[in-house]
Amino acid sequence: MIATLFEPFGYSFFNNGLAVATLAGALCGLLGVFVVLRGMSYIGHGLSHAVFGGAAASAVVGINYFIGAGIWAVVSGVLIGRIARRRIIGADAAIGVVTTASFAIGLALLNRYGQAKKSIEAVLFGSVLGVQPADIWAVSIVAVLVGLLVIAFYRRLLFATFDPDVAQVTGVKVAWVEALVMMMLSLTILVTMRVIGTLLISALLVIPAATSRMLTNSFARMLWISPVLGAVSGFVGMNASYHLDTSASATVILVAAIGFVVVYAATGLRGRVRVAHVHHI
């Protein structure tokens, strides 16, 4: 029994995948706090779809994925900003237009020029088992960078996330802080997309943060609970996927979702108990 549990650790491809999935979980969990609290989960969703176009284009043209998709993500971000400025359209529609078009370009390019099916599937659902050392490096570097930036900008990030108008008046450069969040988000999506896949990355940006919000009323505590939940989801999900023979990224998301449901039920129950106590008084 125990031997079966440890069986996957004998394969280096599994260990690589496990390391990246755990790190990616922590990273997405950390940034997810801002995504969830600012109500911008659609941006995470959209950006990951936009990056897909960049990934496909760079594969076809034959340039490095990180450079090609990185440039593509920045261009999409700028386009979204420009289109959203026309008030009649609005940011959510602008994101919808730019990112789905970008996604469609990616699909068309892969159909026409790519090695077709295999790579499309890899990008949509990720391929934890195809993880290369470069991915481990990329995720590690971005995780450390994002961690340091969140610590260094903690005060400004908190103020600008909670109350941008007043932060601005108090001297926080809110536009810069927002650009910083977008940059961290783009980097995170860029390095984790090949692991988790376009379709599921937005889930990892939302679920651990939403779960941690139910567990605490403190922003500071959310900033460590959410990455821990993300990392645990990555670790447990990877192992479960090996034993259950299910898609790695899907299993990671399912583990995170089960955590959400358990906490949702438990905190709901606790709330009801509290109400019952109040009624007794």
Binding site: L37, F162, D165, S218, F219
Partner: protein, 265 residues
């Protein structure tokens, strides 16, 4: 010098015009906020009250004219309670010390910051709820938390947007008394309000605007039927009660509104 005769201007607007998407929100406004002022800006919805406030704070640029702020002036802004995200995960203490973001970057609260926060919380009667989540407070406490946050970074000018909108009578009194105390202690205050009788009539200076300044002065001189009709575009009566003006909407206006409602439903 004449510094004693006329207090120093903290913020001065000269022929200020502000516009959103080509439509003018504030038109040719010239006014000064001086040290020791306690000013209420009143006017109907869409009259440019909040825009003027934001121009004073410097968070929107003038389309023409200019706003001059005293060099080194510290201002603090208290937003409308309705605009606050009450589900955001912060405690009262965390909210109050938020303005420290200009002091440095170290994430942990320093001892100095904590001591100062405690003084402010004590001053505003919030010590007992310091560790509570902001949603778990009464209406008056919620309003005071944001005033506490503004006071935390020791402003010379306190700017409030509709401090009594959506609050009950008791909370309104509480806020008004608190602001009067702060003003007595030397703080200069500018606020906007819809509430002519509950708030504006109690202030030493009232500015009526409807894009342009209609009148600027003491409530007794400003809250008159002529000025109010120019400001609100509706007939109003003014009674003097206990030396203070009390504004009444004219009856005809009321009846007309009720009848037009009846025909719609």
């Amino acid at each position: 010098m004449n510094a004693l005769a006329v207090p120093q201007a903290l913020v001065e607007c000269h022929e200020l015009t502000c516009a959103y998407d080509g439509s003018v929100a504030v038109d040719d406004v010239s006014m000064a906020v001086r040290r020791g002022d306690f000013v209420g800006i009143v006017g109907p919805s869409g009259s440019g009250k909040t825009t003027l406030l934001k121009a004073v704070l410097g968070s929107i640029p003038p389309a023409s004219g200019h706003v001059h702020r005293l060099q080194g002036l510290t201002m603090a802004y208290v937003p409308q309670v309705e605009s606050v995200d009450w589900n955001f995960p912060v405690t009262v203490l965390e909210t109050v010390i938020m303005t420290r973001s200009r002091n440095g970057w170290w994430p942990r609260t320093t001892k100095d910051e904590r001591d100062h926060a405690e003084r402010v919380l004590h001053r505003l009667g919030l010590v007992d709820v310091a560790e509570r989540h902001i949603r778990e407070l009464s209406g008056g406490q919620q309003q005071r938390v944001f005033i506490a946050r503004a006071l935390f970074h020791r402003p010379e000018l306190l700017v409030l947007d509709e401090p009594t909108s959506g609050v009950d009578v008791r909370t309104r009194h509480e806020v008004l008394h608190l602001l009067a105390d702060l003003h007595d202690e030397g703080l200069s205050i500018v606020l906007t309000t819809h509430d002519l009788n509950g708030l504006a009539a109690h202030l030493p200076r009232v500015v009526c605007i409807n894009k342009r300044i209609i009148a600027d002065g003491a409530p007794r001189d400003v809250l008159t039927p002529v000025v109010l009709e120019k400001t609100y575009g509706a007939e109003m009566e003014v009674l003097i009660h206990g030396g203070m003006p009390v504004v009444l909407e004219s009856g005809a206006d009321h009846v007309a509104r009720r009848l037009s409602n009846l025909t719609t439903f």
